[in-house]
Every structure is written in structure tokens, then in C-alpha cells.
Symmetry: C2
Subunit: 703 residues, 2 copies
């Protein structure tokens, strides 16, 4: 029995007994397939077929007409009856004291509102009985360690699961089958597989939580279509990170943006997948782009047992061209190739007098004429003081001749044992036996140089993410307390006043209702000033000519007041006008954009970008979950390419980074307090100056 | 015998007789291995071992002390003797009338200058004898169709070549072995393999030329480290394109930029690989990022026999999640998913009443309960009027059960035959026999959805490139006639005058040598004007305060004249000063950057980008070989993302595209005329206005 027997999902994977409600004698039907798989695999626990028909035996096992007829306890039940019978079957499970039920039957919330109601009744039954449910519309569960094959996936017809250390939790059954199939064909073993379907109760996050506890699982793969409970997902990912287990996630399906969010520019930029990217990264998980990438990375982690210590690599190669290919790929993937030290250079020079010491280190064909040349070169490189986390060896096709390769194989294994802190990755064509022996000793083997580098880059990136996890305060998200209610609609002036109260620098501006008042305000502020229309009904002030800038004197302010009101009156005669805003004119500085997107699932996210084409054209923006610390605000700024413009770009000045990050923190705290009623915020531009920074325009959308 | 027997490389691949000079009895030595491979494979031609030792037999064959002793003719000779003996052996080949020699021996130009001289002597011998040479330092040649295994690659120890339609030409032997090995392990056959080594005579370009002619070869893979003869490479790529043969190239190794080129900003942006990217694309070749990508794409092309007609795809899937994964990947890779027509929607609705018709089309599990559901759905989609070139079918793991899959297999093959104009790509886990039968019928099979989409995207992109090949005039490049000599160094004013003469719009500006002359010039031009220092010794005018803009009247012009001379005098007292340039002040318009980089190999390339951060920060620039046609100039502009700013960006105006592309054409012609003495040109900014465009600053670097 595994040591996490207290986890609520334990009976799902380690049941002493399984009942199959809707069991079929036909081994090809949904109610027959799991029974056949359990029998073929030799599941050791009790198996109880249940079928209303009253057959004495099903597929050779004693059958029961009702679950209650089963003499002993039932820990894990599978329901595979048509929709109308599901509710009654579940009630029977509750009466019987079943601990976990899988509902394979489809036709619930995924179909229509009526299905959603029926699904809610299933949840209510489970809650009342303290019973857990996977599904409905789920594909099943595999535990190769106990031969529990509790699924109806036809992938099991041809492919028997191999036991390994990679756990797989997926919402989509088809996605799970595809991943399971590709892993099994590649000889990659799995510890657990679960498809959660409609997730009425158990979701992928809870499965990740289980796998983080599970001692059989060292690496976690997951596939999400949509997350409904953000805090559960964050907590599970952080738990896995704390347990030192890599989590590799695929997220398919586009994010739907709530109507409120789309009202802001920030909301539209957050669209699609930026929010998932952000949350996964903050919680130390790696987002894979394809099933193959996910398996490459998971297998690498399973073989090495640890993530690379850093993103620095050294490369030994017998082919200059392939060394450069790997080096280019490594640097594209964000890794660095430090120079080798003079000590290493000397050692390498002793082994290969004519080779040029560099990284990548090209041994040339010379290495083949030196006894144990490959091993000795790698030893010299591994003894290097430079702190690279991964050592690559490109060895062409030598692994295809196991006998000739035997001494190098031994050398590689010894090298890995002597250098547990460095990952050793061999790229070569290889006999399966050679690969297996090397990988059992923690030496990773890849055939394609590029795939090898990409997998290591993914693992190293995950390592970096895990050194900077973003743990949110407990009050985060839509459950945050409401500091104050927000009006339904806010003018620019009201928005800025509110942000000013929250600690974000704004200008000393004034809404004026007469030309005289405008002049008086301008006199007080000093010239030049700007004048803007203030109306809740006019969102695009510039387009109607409602903004006049660089007004140099009292006369021009008085004129501007009249002109603006006149333009507003003719462009939007029905608009309610509050007056004209007078504010000091700001020039110079760098225009940035600060934003808040309140994601319906993940809560308030801060956006940062630079003004101009950087955001519009190149989508050069980044997001982080609110609230921010100053360090995290700084990291968010740094993650935007255009932020180079803030720090001495082409001999220009250093702009006030502290003022910027402080404003971002204040904004993130404001958003956290108001998450419940906030749609989103755009502060555009937020001008960062050499000293100080100031918000020049702001839009707050509420909901 | 193949039909291209007139090609100079024909005897390399189809020799009636092969002599091995330096043949060894030890089948593991470089001089022994090719002999063993030829014998093991059963090469049908004559094999003559040659060794000075005078042994009567080598590896069971009659041996010869001298090449001249061989009774019959020798078409193809291999030299595998140490460096000091190579020259004499080559002379013997010349005397014997050998048609093609491979020199396996290393230690020539790749080592040092002495080696380069020795290599040149080998070339001279070959030229004099009208004999062709591969190498030195080459790894050999394979022709699986005649069992010619004329290589010493140890990859052949374990991996026997399979005959196929993909030809592989590579400079690096190691790269060739890696590619050959990976292809062979995957069961991908090859028509010819050649490693060209030092390329003293035969280069990869000539091999591509041969493969373009070769009727056994339908797809060409190539790997370059450096190209020495641009026009030969361009011509070979265009010949392959005209022959309808896809060319997939890997280029490894960084481009070295000549000193002259690096003197311009354009030159530094052209650095690394932008020039290769441009030339490959212009000649219709696809540049692959990894060996696996190259093989995926080559195999796809080999199976389908044609490139997709366009970049539009339709996707049928049984899994919503995987459908979206594929759709996302397709659009990231530049492909489009057109909507299905109402006709197709109706047909699909008849087959699957509950499915939602969209692209991707998710059949849901419902399709399994419809007889021949998959085939009927695909038929309906293939009958679609929308012009998509590729139809994907995601079929999970059904191919693993050949019996159950038999009827679908038949349906897919019939569908492919009925729709020769559309590519049919099945993504599924599959039994090797199933895959083989489908692929033999032209139906492509992939296991990983993402790899399938990427391969199709690559092929479709190649198809697009081939519809817009860039054929240069014969006078292109560094061999172009010199219209006029260029001075060693040009001032801004001289540069602009020269560009103005070439038809590029410049301002009516004047170099003035007194304040009075400056005022007179300004009066004539109209105010405001700008004033700039003119000195060949001052490259960075702004940094010394040598530029004053927006001068509104005569007084300020006179002052500016004095100020600028004073500043230049104190900042650069030794500089030779020509005077102060007076020019009209231009405001408004969009700042673009036009440039010329004269690549030492590929000749003059035009660069286009937009001003500001687009170029500096996002490297949003594109190159094209000079000279340009107006169509190609327009395509170059369109390929830059920031060019959206020129065409009604966010409600802004349409800028004068014709003035821009015309200037680009004139610039490209100027560069072509002066290629021999030109280092590079930066026109920055080139301001494009609503009507017209003008060069505001220019730098011409000569060499």
C-alpha cells in the first residue's frame, strides 16, 4: 500500500474492491471493456460485476443484480449505465458506503442545461454521503502498479501500460489516450493515469495534489481544457513544486474572456492564454507546446531525477556542425554556454593537443585515436569549475554497436555517479539496451540533438521558476474582502482620484465648470497645461477633439474650455458633461502602460508594457498575479523586452525604476482589494521620468 | 543507368568500376571499411583495391600495386592514403583517366595555410585532367540503388541504407552520418547520399544540381556550413524548384560579416543568418531548424509527391482538445483554417446530426456509431468548395488495430485517389504495416499532432515560396559592372547627392561656408530649416551637438551656423570641416530605414524596417537580394510587421507606398551597379509621407 493512503483519492487508485455497475458480457462494450482489462491484467483486488439483468455470471465472474447484494465492502465503483440510471446507481453507491465512484456515462453538463442540473444532483448525492466522484463523462483510471485498469479506452486494446514514475492527469479522455499511447509506444512507463471528464467533483488540480503526495510518482504530466478553481490549481502546483516534482502541463482550448474584462485594453491583451502562462510559471510548472515535448521533458526528468541546477550548459561534440546546431538551439531556448576555465583548457589540451578549447568543445575525429578519449574529455569538462548544470555529449551513432561502446558506457555511468550535481545528456543513435542501461544510471539519451537541447532547456527553465515561486496571500482572488464598493461607471477624473488615493502618483488636476475656474486652476498649476472633456458618456475623448494640450497661457485656456464644450456638444449632444479637466502638461519621460485584468477564474492580474508600438504590434507585455512585491514587480518589468528603454538605452538616462515598481505594487494592492467588483484598469500612459512617475490617463471598468 | 548520365557527377554515383587507393586488409580501417561495405552490400561493378604493399589480394579481391596496373578503365577512385601520398595518387588517377575522385584524407585547407596550398595543387591537377574531385576531407558517397557504399562512415556498420526518393547532400560528414542514421532508423529511404568535405571542387550546390536532374530523387535534403559560390547555389536551388523537387536545407555555423559590412547598421542586422534565410526563401528552399524537422518534412514530401496547393487546412478530429491543439499550431505556423461552406455543413449534419460544424470539425465519439463514419465525414469535407490544400484527420490510436481499421484504411486510400489535388494527413498511432500501406498510397501518417501540422506548414510554405521565386538578372552580385568608382569616404551630403542622382528623393539642401550663405539658402528653401555639421571626420553629428533643428528665421540660422562650428571646433579640433548643411525641416510622416548590406558571398541585399524600437529592439527587419522589382519591394515591406503603421494603422492615413517602393527599387539598382566597391548603405530615416517620401540622412560605406 502506498504511503499516501489518507489522501481522499487513494481508493481511486488502490481499491481493495471494484464494482462495475452496468457490467456487460460483451468485452467490446463500455460496460464490458473495463472488466476484460481488469481480468486480462490480473488485478488482485475483488471485482464485482453488477447488472440489473440478473445474470449469474458476467465474463466468468459472479455477478450481482444490485450493488447492495455484494457481500463485502466496495471501495471503488464504476458507473457505466445510460443517463437515466446514473442517479439511482449513485444513490446505491452512497448507501453501500463506496468511497470513490467513476461515472463513465456521458450526457450531462457537456450537453445542455438540463444535463448540468442532473450533474449537480449527482454532486449533491456525493457531498451528502462524503463520497468522491470522478466524471461524469470520464474515461477512467490506470494504476499499473496494481494492474488496476479501470477504463474503457480502446487504447488499452493494443497497448499494455508499463509501470514508471510519471503520473498523468488529464481532463480530456482523448488527450489522455493520445498521451498514454505515445508514451507506451516509446517505452515510457507511467505511475498513474486519470481522466477527469466533466470534473463535477474531482478535478485535475486535485489529481496533481494526489500525485504530489504519491511516492510512486516522481514527475507529473497534466492536461487542462479549463480551470474552474484557481486556488485549488495554484495550491496543487505549489505543493508539487515543494515536493520537488516537476509538473508539465498542456493547456488546450482558448480562454474565454468575460465581458467586463474585454472592456479594457488590458483585458483584450490578457485574452487567450497569457493568464494561464503566467499562473503556470508563477507556480513553477512548465507549459508544453506538444504531446511529444511533454513526454521528452517528462522522460528527461524521470531519468535524471532532478532538474538542472541552472541554465548553463557545456557541450562536447565530435562534429563541429552539430555542436553549433546545439549551441544555437540552447541560446534560442534561453540557456547560456559559459567559457571553459583555463584549468579545464589545460586538461583538455593534454588529452587532445590539437583541439581548440571552446564551448562547444569540438574533439574532432582525433578523440577516437585516444584510448578512452570520450570519457577522459567528459571527465575533464565535468571537473570544470564553471557552474554549468548540464553537460552534453554528442556521440554520433556509437551507441548502435553495444560491444564497441561498452567501455564508454561504463565511463559515462561512472562519470554520472561521480557528478550527481550535473546532468549528463548523451546525444547519439543507440541500441535500446544501451539506452536502457544508461538511463537507469541517470544518464539521459536522445537521438535528435535539437530535441535533447529543448528538453534540457525546459527542465532548466522549470528549475529557475521553482527558485522564484509566487505564493499569493490567502485573501487573493475573487474571494478577497471588499474594501469599498465601486460606482458602476467612473470618469477619468474619478478613476485617477481613486488611484491617487491608492498611492499611485497622479497630477494635481481639477474639473472646472467655467472658463474662469479653468484659468484659475491653470494659474495655480503653472503653464503649460492640458484641457480634457469630462463625461461618463465620452470614452474616446481624443476622437471628438475633446483634448487640447500644451496650452501656454490664460487666454488659450479660456478658449480651450469653450472649444472643448462646443465640440462635445456637437459630437455627443446627449452626453452628460461634468466639465473640463485642467492638468499640468507633462513632457519627457518614457510612456508605459500599467493595467489590471480581473480574470474570472484567476482573479486580478497586473499587466506591464511600454507605450507605442511595443504593445500594439509586438504584444510585448507581461502579466503577474496581484498583489506584487517590489521584487516581482521588477521581474515583471524586466520580462518585457522594451523595458531596455528605461535603463540607459543607447546612452539615454536611467528612468525611475523605483517609482514605477512602487506604483505597480500599489495598483496591484488596489486591484486585490476591489477584485470582486472590478472589471479591469488601464493606466495609459503611465509616464516614468528620471525622477518620479505619473499616471496621465486612467480607465477603470467595474462589473 | 539513370537518365542524367551526362551530368559530370554521374560517375560518382553510377561508376562501372571503383578503385580504392590505400585499400586495407583491415576491414575497420579507413582504407578497409569502404571495401568491406562494397563487398557486403554486393556492389555489381568492378572493385579494384590498390596498395603500394604489393599484396596479391586484399579482402579477397585481386589487388594492384599501382592504379596503372589495373587492366580496364577506372571511373571512380577513392584516395585513402596519408597526406604526403595524396598528390601522387591524384596524379596517377589523372594519368589513368579516372572521371571522379573522392579524397577521404584530411589535413588540407581545414588545418592551415600550407594545407590550403596543398589543396590548391590537388585542384590544379584535377582541372588540368578534366577530372572531378570530392573532398579532400570528405566522408563518402552512397547510392543504395546500385549498392555503391563508397564511404568510411562507421554509421554503415550498423545501418544498411534503404532505397528511397530522398537525396542528401551535406558538407559535413558527421552531419551526413547523423541524418543518414536517423533516417535509416525511422525506415526512411534515401536515393543518394554525398558528403562534400572541404569542397575544393565539388560543392553542395553542384550536388543539388545533380539531384535536381536525378530521376531517382524526388526530394532534396542539404546541409551547408558555408557557401562560397552564391550564384552556383542560387542556380541549383532554382533548378530544383523548376524541377518541382522540394529542397530542405539546414545551415549551421554562423555567418562571418566582412569588416566593410559591419561599418553600417544594416550590416550588423544582416549578421548571422538573415542573408541565408533570405536567399533560401527567394530560391524556394525551406530552411529546417533540426534534423528531425528536416526528415519529417522530407518524408512528408516523399509520401505526398507534391506540395500542398496553399496554406489553408481543414481538420477533422474525434477529440475537441486535440483539434484545437492542431488549429493553434497551424495558425502559429502561418496557416489558415477557412470556414466550411454551408454545403459541407449540410452533408456533415446529415452524417452526424448532433455535431457542431466548424473547422476544426469535432466529430465527437458519435462518429464511431455511424457505419463508415470517419470515411464519410472526410469525404464530405474533401468535397468542400473551400480551397484548402490539406485535410487532416485525427484518428487517435485506431491504426494500432489493423483488422478493425481495414475498412477505414480502404476508405482513406480511395479518398486520396479521388482527391489528388488535396493532401490527406492522418494523425494516429499506427501499426507499421498500416502506415506503410497508407503512405504508399500517398496518405501521410504522423503520430504526434504537432509534428504533423509543422511538417505540413513547412511544405505549404515551400509551395508559397515556389510561386514567387526571385530570379536575379545575370549581372547580379560582386561580378556586376562598375558604373562609377566610389570615393573612399563620403560625407552625408555627398552620400545624399549620390543617392539623389540615383533617383532616391532627397531634400534640396546646401553646404554653406558662411553664416550669410546659410541664411540665403534658408531664405530660398523657406522656414523652418535644419542645420548640420558637414565633416568626413564626424560620424555622430548629434552627439557633439552638431545638429540644430526647427530653425524658424534668418537670425536663428545665422546663430546656428556659428554655434555648430564652435561646437565642432571644441569637440573635434582636428576634424576637417566642409561647412554647415542647411536643409528644409521635414515633419510628419513615418520614419523608415532603408539599407544595403553587401554580403561578401551573396552580394547586395536590401534591408527594410521602420524607425524607432521596431528595428533596434524587435529586429523587425527584412532583407531581399538586389535588384528589386516593385512587386518584390512591396513584398519586402509587407514582410515587416511594423509596416502596418504605413497603411491606416488605428485610423491613421495611408502613406505613400509607391514612393517608398520606388525608392527601394532605385536604391537596389544603385547597390547592384556599385556592388564591387560598396560596403553598405544606411538611409535612416527615410520618411514616408502621405504624398511622397524623402531621405533625411544617409551613410554610404565603401571598401
Amino acid at each position: 500500500m502506498s504511503s499516501n493512503s489518507l489522501h481522499p483519492l487513494h481508493p481511486l487508485f488502490f481499491p481493495a474492491s471494484v464494482a462495475l455497475i452496468g457490467a456487460s458480457s460483451d468485452p467490446e462494450r463500455i460496460g464490458g471493456r473495463p472488466l476484460r482489462f481488469l481480468l486480462e491484467a490480473g488485478f488482485k483486488g475483488a471485482i464485482y460485476p453488477v447488472n440489473r439483468s440478473g445474470a449469474a455470471q458476467i465474463q466468468g465472474l459472479p455477478a450481482y443484480q444490485n450493488l447492495m447484494d455484494i457481500p463485502g465492502p466496495v471501495e471503488h465503483a464504476i458507473i457505466a449505465v445510460p443517463v437515466p440510471g446514473v442517479e439511482a446507481a449513485l444513490q446505491e453507491c452512497a448507501r453501500k458506503g463506496v468511497r470513490v465512484v467513476q461515472v463513465f456515462t456521458a450526457g450531462f453538463a457537456e450537453v445542455d442545461a438540463q444535463g448540468a442540473e442532473a450533474q449537480q444532483r449527482l454532486v449533491d448525492i456525493c457531498r451528502a454521503a462524503d463520497m468522491r466522484m470522478v466524471g461524469p463523462n470520464s474515461l477512467g483510471v490506470l494504476n499499473p502498479s496494481t494492474q488496476l485498469i479501470a477504463t474503457f479506452s480502446t487504447a488499452l486494446n493494443g497497448l499494455r501500460p508499463q509501470h514508471g514514475v510519471i503520473g498523468l492527469a488529464t481532463q480530456s479522455g482523448a488527450f489522455g489516450s493520445a498521451t498514454y499511447g505515445m508514451a507506451t509506444l516509446r517505452g515510457i512507463g507511467l505511475s498513474r493515469v486519470i481522466a477527469t471528464g466533466n470534473e463535477a467533483d474531482v478535478d485535475v488540480a486535485e489529481c496533481i495534489d494526489y500525485l504530489a503526495d504519491d511516492p510512486d510518482t516522481r514527475v507529473i504530466c497534466a492536461a487542462l481544457e479549463a480551470c474552474k478553481d484557481a486556488s485549488r490549481l495554484r495550491a496543487a502546483l505549489l505543493k508539487a513544486a515543494d515536493a520537488g516534482k516537476p509538473v508539465i502541463i498542456m493547456k488546450v482550448g482558448r480562454t474565454e474572456i468575460g465581458a467586463a474584462a474585454a472592456a479594457t485594453h488590458t483585458g483584450s491583451l490578457a485574452g487567450n492564454d497569457a493568464v494561464y502562462d503566467t499562473v503556470f510559471a508563477e507556480c513553477g510548472a512548465y507549459r508544453a507546446a506538444s504531446i511529444e515535448d511533454m513526454l521528452d521533458l517528462a522522460h528527461f526528468c524521470a531519468v535524471t531525477g532532478a532538474l538542472p541546477q541552472n541554465e548553463q550548459v557545456a557541450i562536447m561534440t565530435g562534429s563541429g556542425g552539430i555542436g553549433i546546431l546545439m549551441a544555437d538551439c540552447a541560446s534560442e531556448a534561453g540557456m547560456q554556454l559559459p567559457d571553459l576555465s583555463s584549468g579545464a583548457a589545460q586538461r583538455l589540451h593534454e588529452i587532445l593537443p590539437f583541439a581548440v578549447v571552446a564551448n562547444p568543445f569540438d574533439t574532432t575525429a582525433q578523440v577516437t585515436s585516444v584510448p578512452d578519449g570520450v570519457t577522459r574529455v567528459l571527465e575533464a569538462m565535468a571537473a570544470e569549475d564553471a557552474g554549468f548544470g548540464t553537460l552534453f555529449a554528442y556521440l554520433a551513432h556509437v551507441g548502435l554497436s553495444p560491444t564497441r561502446f561498452a567501455s564508454t558506457e561504463k565511463g559515462l555511468i561512472a562519470l554520472r555517479q561521480a557528478n550527481p550535481q550535473r546532468q549528463l545528456v548523451v546525444v547519439m543513435l543507440s541500441d535500446p539496451g544501451v539506452t536502457q542501461r544508461l538511463e537507469a544510471a541517470g544518464v539521459s539519451v536522445f537521438a535528435d540533438p535539437t530535441r535533447a537541447v529543448r528538453a534540457v532547456a525546459g527542465a532548466a527553465r522549470m528549475g529557475r521558476l521553482r527558485r522564484q515561486l509566487h505564493r499569493l496571500p490567502a485573501t487573493h482572488g475573487t474571494q478577497a474582502p471588499v474594501a469599498q464598493a465601486l460606482p458602476v461607471a467612473l470618469t477619468e477624473h474619478q478613476a485617477k482620484a481613486m488611484l491617487g488615493d491608492a498611492g499611485i502618483p497622479v497630477l494635481p488636476e481639477q474639473v472646472c465648470t467655467s472658463a474662469a475656474q479653468a484659468v484659475e486652476a491653470a494659474n495655480r498649476m503653472g503653464y503649460p497645461v492640458v484641457a480634457k472633456i469630462v463625461s461618463i458618456d465620452i470614452a474616446h475623448k481624443t476622437e471628438i477633439g475633446g483634448v487640447l494640450i500644451n496650452l501656454p497661457d490664460a487666454k488659450s485656456v479660456a478658449q480651450a474650455y469653450d472649444t472643448i464644450l462646443q465640440r462635445a456638444g456637437s459630437a455627443a449632444p446627449a452626453a452628460h458633461i461634468d466639465g473640463v479637466l485642467i492638468a499640468p502638461m507633462v513632457s519627457g519621460g518614457v510612456e508605459t502602460i500599467l493595467g489590471i485584468h480581473v480574470d474570472p477564474v484567476f482573479g486580478p492580474m497586473v499587466m506591464f508594457g511600454l507605450g507605442g508600438t511595443a504593445v500594439e504590434l509586438y504584444k510585448d507585455v507581461a502579466f503577474a498575479s496581484a498583489p506584487l512585491t517590489p521584487q516581482r514587480a521588477q521581474a515583471l518589468v524586466n520580462s518585457v523586452r522594451a523595458s531596455a528603454l528605461l535603463s540607459g538605452w543607447r546612452g539615454g538616462p536611467q528612468y525611475d525604476m523605483q517609482a514605477l515598481t512602487q506604483a505597480m505594487c500599489r495598483l496591484s494592492e488596489f486591484a486585490t482589494r476591489h477584485a470582486q467588483h472590478l472589471g479591469g484598469i488601464d493606466i495609459n500612459p503611465f509616464v516614468v521620468q528620471v525622477e518620479g512617475a505619473v499616471c496621465l490617463d486612467a480607465l477603470i471598468s467595474t462589473r
